[in-house]
Symmetry: C2
Subunit: 193 residues, 2 copies
DNA sequence: GCTTCTAGCTAAAGCGATTAGCTACAGCGT
DNA sequence: ACGCTGTAGCTAATCGCTTTAGCTAGAAGC
């Protein structure tokens, strides 16, 4: 038996890729092992089980998403930054539906969990977008949650084929960006709540 | 063996309730059978399998959500209607996270599928909300998708405990309603995209 | 070249979904 | 009241996937 030369990172990367291809629900230890040219139990030398694998895929996904969004925002402000961030986020989720799905419902075990770090990085990228609007300090958290809900909701609904009816989806997304831009500008004037 | 007197509706209702309690992922045929005082294989006399059960729970959830949102909107218009719909929707998802989770990723098999009917009813409730704003006809679809993304995103993120940081979540949701109201009003003026 | 560490293997246990086939309760007609 | 019939629920068994136990041999250091 020739050594396959695996390590945790390689297993997680392959798992994420496979999840993107077949859907997270169809990612089994067996199929992943086969993909890696190895027998199923061998995977347990690198990840401690399906749960651990899922958490690591989630951390990878959030980290990549943070890179994508953070990079897209560079050099822009205001509406441009918002549009770039939203488009980058959606593109990431649509290209990597499996690994993004792994992030839903996982909770960091502590502040040092790679999951928590990656999550903070992604949030930071959205905070940067909000700096382009005159949001009152106490409202920044609310705006951040709104932005995240909007992006998460749209991307996951589309990834799950939740939009059955007719109108063009890209167009809807551009409309949504305009909506968010104008809404944020209006909210910056008067105190909300 | 005394008859338990089950039927598909009772099995689905119990499944939905159990999913709300323990989470959709932990809803097993075994635990559901135990809850109903019956052996596992007996369930297959009422639903054709886990897939079928999931679809039926999803249809039930969408139908109930449509009732809740539709009822809440009655007699209101504009901001009041929007707030009522959003609050009703969020309350439903938070009270019934398991059954709502069942709706994610299921696709109606055809236009007569109870799933499709329930889905249309829920959408209709949101369309009613939008009638209170002067949205140009071609933009109604976009606004509907936006509204759905916003509600779905916020509710599922909260249900999954996705909001780790500090600010008060109810307050964030009220802020979000105000944001959506103002955004919809602004969008009604100028043509978007 | 020898020792040591460990990636990967085979074997096996265990759990959940599902199917096959039996049994007996309930509702019906007589 | 009595038997007939349809079917809800049962036991037994299969199958697939996860996970553990224990072995083996390739690679790295001396």
């Amino acid at each position: 038996m020739p050594r396959a030369g695996l390590d945790p990172a390689a297993v997680v990367a392959a798992g994420a890729a496979l999840a993107d291809e077949v859907g997270l629900a169809h990612l089994t230890m067996g199929s992943l092992a086969e993909r890696l040219g190895v027998r199923t139990p061998s995977l347990y030398k690198h990840v401690s089980g399906q749960d651990d694998l899922n958490r690591r895929i989630a951390a990878l996904a959030l980290s990549e998403a943070a890179d994508a969004v953070g990079g897209a925002v560079q050099g822009y402000a205001g509406r441009e930054a918002l549009a770039a961030a939203a488009r980058a986020f959606r593109a990431f989720v649509l290209e990597h539906p499996g690994r993004y799905a792994a992030t839903i419902g996982v909770e960091p075990s502590g502040p040092d969990d790679p999951l928590a770090t990656a999550s903070r990085r992604l949030l930071a990228a959205f905070v940067a977008v909000l700096r382009g609007y005159e949001i009152a300090e106490p409202d920044v958290d609310h705006a951040l949650r709104m932005l995240r809900s909007l992006c998460h909701g749209f991307a996951t609904l589309q990834a799950a084929d939740g939009f059955q009816w007719s109108a063009d989806i890209d167009q809807s997304f551009e409309w949504l960006i305009t909506f968010a831009d104008r809404g944020l500008r209006v909210m910056s004037g008067a105190g909300a709540v």
